[in-house]
């Protein structure tokens, strides 16, 4: 090793150590646990090696429910939140008066505590002996029967969870998209206007390609974030998510470790590795697809 590269290694050593201890080692450790049957933290013992943990988790109805919930949440909230954020950013970038006020308002959810937001959503959606909740009052205006969004049917609970997630993740996306839109040179739009380009075509052929790297970034981080959903569900439905039927994969991992039915680090590890595999696959797919469509030239 020559002197120059030795220096380079020295500089990245702190970060390398830190990441190694807190990221790489746990990852490898979890991978090992996931193949050790009946691992016990206290005695650091196990009684077999094999794929039994995976077989158990994959047959566990709670896990399958969690996978279903998580996929539904991802499939609904990522496109909806990204699309809505794009629309709002477009709106924001085409107004000049009160723009900063609106930007601040749209950014507020980002700096608000998740659990506090959850409380607000409870007030909006929960039925109590005294009231049906604001949401029910509103749908009541249209003559619909009141629905219990927090303890009621699955689709109602899913709707609330999706709404909540979209609301939580949108501010960041709006912020990033607004600045991406602002960085597009006005001359492109002027050129398109002079050539008589219809607004929709300007949007699809100029605006979207110009900000496509940002959109891809948001979609990928959106997928990853949504797959890791947990606190949102807790904020709405409490800690006993399995009973509510609203558990997520991360929630399942947590329950397996520390929940009332917990104490199974091997199953938790297997579930965590499965989640890791899912996220990795989806991210790779995303990158593969986007490589064809995204232009990083400017």
């Amino acid at each position: 090793m020559d002197k120059k590269s030795a220096k380079g290694w020295l500089y990245i050593l702190p970060a390398f150590l830190f990441l190694g201890v807190f990221l790489l080692y746990p990852l490898v450790d979890v991978f090992i646990y996931s193949f050790e049957e009946g691992f016990n933290f206290a005695s650091q013992s196990y009684y077999g090696v094999g794929s039994y943990n995976y077989a158990y988790v994959l047959r566990d109805p709670y896990f399958l429910q969690a996978v279903k919930n998580t996929f539904l949440l991802v499939a609904i909230t990522v496109p909806v939140s990204t699309g809505l954020a794009l629309l709002i950013s477009l709106g924001l970038s085409s107004i000049s008066r009160l723009r900063e006020l609106y930007q601040t308002i749209f950014f507020l959810p980002y700096v608000t505590n998740t659990l506090a937001v959850g409380l607000v959503f409870m007030i909006l959606f929960k039925r109590t002996p005294y009231t049906d909740g604001l949401a029910n009052l509103i749908i009541g205006l249209f003559g619909a029967e009141p629905v219990d969004f927090i303890d009621g049917p699955y689709w109602a609970k899913m709707t609330v969870l999706c709404l909540y997630t979209v609301w939580i993740v949108m501010p960041f996306k709006i912020l990033i998209l607004t600045s991406a839109l602002a960085s597009v040179n006005r001359d492109y739009y002027n050129a398109a206007r002079i050539d008589g380009t219809p607004a929709w075509r300007i949007f699809t052929r100029i605006t979207v390609p110009m900000i496509s790297p940002t959109i891809v970034y948001l979609i990928i981080t959106g997928f990853i974030g949504a797959f890791k959903a947990y606190s949102d569900a807790v904020a709405l439905f409490g800690t006993n998510l399995n009973a509510a039927g609203m558990n997520t994969i991360v929630g399942y991992v947590y329950d397996m470790l520390y929940g009332s039915s917990g104490g199974y680090p091997s199953y938790a590890s297997a579930a965590a590795i499965l989640l890791f595999a899912i996220v990795l696959t989806i991210t790779c797919l995303n990158l593969l697809i986007s490589r064809k469509h995204v232009s990083y030239l400017s």
Partner: protein, 362 residues
């Protein structure tokens, strides 16, 4: 297509309390004959780019009218005006190939104007051939040189067969050699297509060399309109005289007395019929004739040999703080060791301005 501007004024409102309203273009009237190449010339902030934006419709005038041919377009949006525009930074869409960029305006056509795919391709290729980029059609703009990007931008502006072509500082992003070449290229394309073309520039040489007409602007006001040679030979005021010409015009403090022009104590030129008083005397560099008994004596500062010509550098008390630059034939060069040099002035190359510089007296 003839283009007429009638008393066009554009103001930009003050932003904030400390700012003041800016009149970018003030009472501009001008008629561009069909098929001419016109340069809007002036220093930055003179309103030339605003004028271009008024022509293409990206901005609307506060008062006045604009006509293309017989049709009034003052209130028409840009897409209804049928103009082609080449932006200073070209504004080529970076994610589209050259061909897709050129096709873009054609794909916007709707209804009766809609073209078949084959026809669009034919016209795009024709435009590409005109600007000689036929072999670059599959490249992305980032893979092209500045000059090639410029040509693509011109092809994109021409492909929809605009009524007029507008160019904003078309040569400013090119290096010196390419600028010379592209300048000729713009002239050739304009002649071949016969499209009335307006371009904006702050470079007087660029404007002089290729345009049929020059519009010299300053702080929103038109200073002079005319053929390049006319504007150079008959500047309307001191600003125009100073702005045109390279090397620039030499200025002396002088006075008129008894029908003669004096610089210092020496009578340099006859000016019959002119009222006496202080004046600014402008002499073009080529307006000096070396002569042993010439009317104007200057201290010799140096001689620069340029090959064909010789540039004589001199100084005079009436020309404070500036070096006088005279261009003479190489055969007539003065003795570099001499202390003084004497010139006669060529009458057509000498201009007299009043002290404000607003008016030319001779």
């Amino acid at each position: 297509m003839k283009v007429v501007l009638r008393n066009v004024t554009k103001k930009f409102p003050a932003r904030g309390k400390k700012d003041r309203e800016v009149t970018a273009v003030s009472d501009f009237s001008f008629e561009i004959p069909d098929g001419q190449l016109v340069a809007l010339l002036g220093p930055s902030g003179c309103g030339k780019s605003t004028t271009l934006n008024l022509l293409c419709g990206l901005q609307r005038p506060d008062s006045g009218q604009i006509f293309f041919g017989e049709e009034e377009v003052t209130q028409l949006p840009p897409e209804k005006r049928g103009v082609g525009m080449v932006f200073q930074n070209y504004a080529l869409y970076p994610h589209l190939t050259v061909l897709q960029n050129i096709l873009f305006p054609l794909q916007n056509l709707k209804g009766a104007e809609k073209l078949s795919k084959a026809e669009m391709n034919r016209r795009a290729r024709e435009a590409a051939e005109l600007v000689q980029i036929g072999e670059l059609l599959d490249r992305k703009p980032a893979e092209l040189s500045g000059g090639q990007q410029q040509r693509v931008a011109i092809a994109r502006a021409l492909v929809k067969m605009p009524r007029i072509l507008l160019m904003d500082e078309p040569l400013s992003n090119l290096d010196a050699r390419l600028r010379l070449q592209t300048r000729e290229e713009i002239r050739r394309i304009q002649k071949e297509t016969g499209i009335t073309t307006v371009f904006v520039t702050h470079d007087q040489e660029e404007a002089m060399s290729i345009s049929d007409r020059i519009v010299v602007m300053r702080e929103g006001l038109v200073q002079q309109i005319g053929r390049p040679q006319e504007v150079y030979d008959q500047p309307a005021n001191l600003f125009v005289a100073k702005f045109l010409g390279s090397p620039p015009i030499n200025l002396f403090e002088g006075r008129v007395s008894g029908g003669r022009v004096f610089i210092g104590e020496e009578a340099v030129l006859a000016a019959p019929g002119l009222a006496g008083g202080e004046v600014t005397v402008g002499v073009r560099p080529e307006g000096f004739l070396l002569k042993a008994d010439g009317a104007l004596g200057c201290r010799l500062r140096g001689v620069e040999v340029l090959g064909r010509d010789v540039s004589v550098l001199a100084a005079h008390e009436a020309c404070p703080g500036a070096v006088i630059r005279a261009i003479v034939n190489a055969q007539e060069r003065p003795d570099p060791a001499a202390d003084t040099v004497r010139f006669d002035l060529k009458p057509g190359k000498v201009f007299l301005f009043d002290k404000t510089g607003d008016q030319r007296l001779l």
